[in-house]
């Protein structure tokens, strides 16, 4: 195409490199395992959402399943209810769990704090517990009959403030969200804590020389430096919350009562796909809901990656 001779021709015969087979060989196991347990099921789910059983035969129906999910009054009601609850669930995590994680990490990184490693372990420990145990413990703690919470409130004379929170439609979702926050607050704490430890001593010293200490040091120096970590935590929370299922299932059951007030996308998917009690499982509609969940999460992650993360300022030391 161009008139200038290429450098290869100028330097004589090309040195033929041996094909680097080892790269392929070393990548292969991971690729096979990942494809088999992640990519293929995902593709199969997406495919299944376009099929439905017609006269006992699995038939391609195009977007008809999605039309039912969004068009049929009952399906749409269940879906939007679950989506709304899921956003509330997410909002509570963002407003309570993450600020609390940042605050805890900031306190833990104070050099004067005693027993810091004890607190760190104690706060992180619930994250390691099985959700079954967490669900069971909290159901007992909040139980109006045997629970310690009505007892403790009674001791300080505030028994009137107690209510069967898990059983009331307007408080159940908040209660379940806060249980989840209690369990997972250790994760943002640890990530932020690590980010705080990464801030070089010189930067802090320089700030101190300029007379920036205490609160203003945190907000003006440390917070901007840990923003990327907060971003990562937000996206992890988003993905985790929109995939959540386990805690609601153990605490409130598969019907996510009372009156569907704690129904999130995960529980709706479970009931639809696997069926429940007399309700037989509907794999096609289940796959449809799973596809919508996948798209929601994909949209959220893309938004973060392409819009937010690119504008985030990073500091290099």
């Amino acid at each position: 195409m161009s008139d200038t001779p290429s450098t290869h021709d100028a330097t004589g015969p090309i040195i033929k490199r041996p094909t680097r087979w080892h790269i392929v060989v070393f990548l292969l196991p991971a690729f096979i395992v990942y494809s088999a347990v992640m990519i293929l099921p995902l593709i199969e789910t997406l495919r299944l959402s376009l099929f439905n059983t017609v006269d006992g035969q699995s038939t391609f129906v195009g977007l008809a399943n999605f039309k039912v999910l969004f068009g049929d009054e009952r399906w749409a009601h269940d879906f939007w209810n679950a989506l709304k609850n899921n956003f509330v669930f997410f909002a509570i995590h963002m407003l309570v769990q993450n600020p609390m994680g940042v605050a805890l990490a900031a306190m833990l990184s104070l050099p004067k704090l005693r027993f810091a490693s004890f607190y760190r372990t104690a706060i992180f420990l619930p994250t390691l517990l099985s959700f079954v145990i967490v669900g069971f413990i909290w159901k007992l703690i909040l139980s109006p009959i045997w629970g310690v919470s009505p007892f403790l409130l009674d001791v300080v004379g505030l028994k009137s403030l107690f209510a069967p929170w898990l059983g009331r439609p307007n408080s159940a979702l908040i209660a379940v969200s806060l249980i989840s926050v209690w369990q997972y607050v250790g994760i943002p704490m640890m990530l932020i804590y690590a980010a705080l430890l990464n801030i070089p001593e010189e930067v802090i010293e320089a700030a101190e020389c300029d007379g920036i200490t205490g609160w203003s040091q945190f907000f003006k120096i440390k917070l901007p430096l840990i923003l990327p970590a907060i971003g990562i935590i937000s996206i992890l929370t988003f993905v985790g919350n929109f995939n959540a299922f386990d805690l609601v299932y153990t605490v409130q059951g598969a019907l996510a009562g009372p009156d569907g007030s704690t129904d999130i996308l995960g529980t709706l998917l479970y009931r639809t796909f696997f069926g429940f009690q007399l309700q037989l499982g509907d794999r096609s509609m289940g796959a449809t809901i799973a596809t919508v969940m996948f798209l929601i999460i994909l949209a959220g992650v893309s938004l973060y990656l392409f819009v937010i993360q690119r504008r985030m300022r990073r500091y290099q030391f």
Partner: protein, 419 residues
């Protein structure tokens, strides 16, 4: 020395054992089941009773875990490796097997005449023409009460709705007992122990249920809304924080003697007998006015069917006839108090509480849970919707009329009445 002796013994038993086996057992029948809790009863009581009468037939009871049963059974049936006898889940799961040709018709089985149409309803085709499983056991709903509490408070067993609420009021006013142990947290308690328990009295059992399936009645009719109105009144007599009270909570409240009345299913009898330290009694769902016919929910739970492709059809049929005999009913019902035989011949049971429950069959008309047959085939699922609706009504977050309207609307969206 000892080791050699043991080896020799083992060898001898294995050879002699198989030799004896081959001689005595011309046919071996395998029973597929999910009731692994009942393994001992089958091996020690039911199978010996059958084998004693039918030399040449051996029976092996081979249960799988309840949660895996349906899937495992389907796989085995498709592969042709399933046992000769299949324990049947009630309604649609078994109907599906029959439609696929896995279960044989049992219309001409000797012994089927021992069962009423209601007893067979869980295992017949929608038109009622073909039965494909021998009914084995059912569970009955009613109320279990703390006899000691009733005696101290001077309350007699209520028979009408008014007496029932008067009793509850009296227990509440006295204050030492929670009037009724039930919670709405698990939802199904409200529907199964509440709505399906008292409901048949108002919709007149089978009559109402059949009319609903034929489309002659609707869930918004008075007969179907009335039980919700009664349930709504229960709210005042449940324990503090009943909205978050779970099923085990309710069981414990009652067996610890803190509650006076427990809306029950007969399957509780076995557990309550071992846990409760006080005397217990039971009464059927109270009728509206004195002298009205009483109705009870006598819900079919377990049956046995014949694998249509099994190798030993004749022997298997003999076993099924045995299952339909009063003798089997007697063994089964007495080994598992609370699981009642569906046989028309009354069974004398040793357990007084179980005997009390089953005695209602003589004076009351039995029916099954209204949502189980045909009506829970579509989406939204009527049974699941009923759970939520019943809990809402008791919690007071929905009026009985709203709940009924919602249920009927959901049903209308897919259900075509069976004519």
């Amino acid at each position: 020395m000892t080791r050699n002796a043991i080896k020799g013994l083992l060898l001898a038993t294995s050879i002699l054992g198989t030799a004896g086996f081959a001689q005595a057992a011309d046919v071996t029948l395998t029973v597929e089941s999910w009731r692994n809790d009942d393994l001992a009863i089958w091996q020690e009581k039911i199978i010996p009773a059958f084998e004693a009468k039918n030399p040449g037939i051996k029976v092996v009871f081979a249960p799988t875990a309840p949660t895996e049963y349906n899937a495992a059974l389907n796989a085995k049936l498709d592969a042709g490796s399933a046992g000769d006898l299949i324990t049947c889940r009630p309604f649609d799961a078994s109907l599906e097997l029959f439609k696929k040709g896995h279960l044989a018709s049992l219309n001409d089985l000797p012994g089927m005449e021992n069962f009423s149409p209601v007893a067979k309803s869980a295992w017949t085709t929608d038109d009622g023409a073909t039965a494909f499983c021998v009914p084995m056991a059912s569970v009955i709903h009613g109320f279990i009460y703390n006899k000691d509490a009733f005696d101290t408070l001077g309350i007699s067993v209520p028979t009408t709705e008014a007496e029932f609420f008067a009793a509850l009021e009296k227990i509440k006013a006295e204050g030492s007992y929670i009037p009724m142990a039930m919670g709405t947290k698990d939802l199904w308690e409200a529907a199964t122990m509440g709505y399906q328990n008292i409901g048949p009295t108002y919709w007149k059992g089978e009559e109402g249920r059949a009319a609903l399936i034929k489309g002659e009645q609707k869930l918004t009719d008075d007969a179907w809304v009335e039980p919700y109105r009664v349930l709504a009144k229960w709210k005042d007599y449940l324990g503090d924080g009943f909205e978050a009270q779970t099923y085990p909570d309710s069981q414990n409240l009652f067996t610890l003697g803190r509650a006076a009345i427990y809306p029950a299913g007969s399957w509780e009898i076995g557990l309550f007998n071992t846990q409760a330290q006080f005397k217990m009694g039971a009464f059927p769902p109270p009728v509206k006015n004195a002298g009205d016919t009483c109705y009870i929910s006598d819900h079919n739970d377990i049956g046995v069917g014949l694998n249509a492709k099994g190798a030993n059809q004749e022997a298997a049929k003999k076993f099924l006839s045995f299952v339909s005999s009063p003798e089997f009913a007697d063994i089964y019902a007495n080994s598992l108090p609370g699981f009642f035989s569906l046989n028309s011949t009354a069974v004398k049971m040793a357990d007084p509480l179980a005997q009390e429950f089953v005695s209602w069959r003589e004076k009351c008309k039995p029916t099954i849970r209204s949502t189980y047959q045909i009506l829970s085939r579509g989406t939204p699922n009527l049974e699941n919707e009923t759970w939520t609706a019943s809990a809402n009504v008791i919690n007071g977050t929905e009026t009985p009329e709203q709940a009924a309207e919602k249920l009927q609307k959901g049903l209308d969206s897919w259900f075509k009445p069976v004519k």
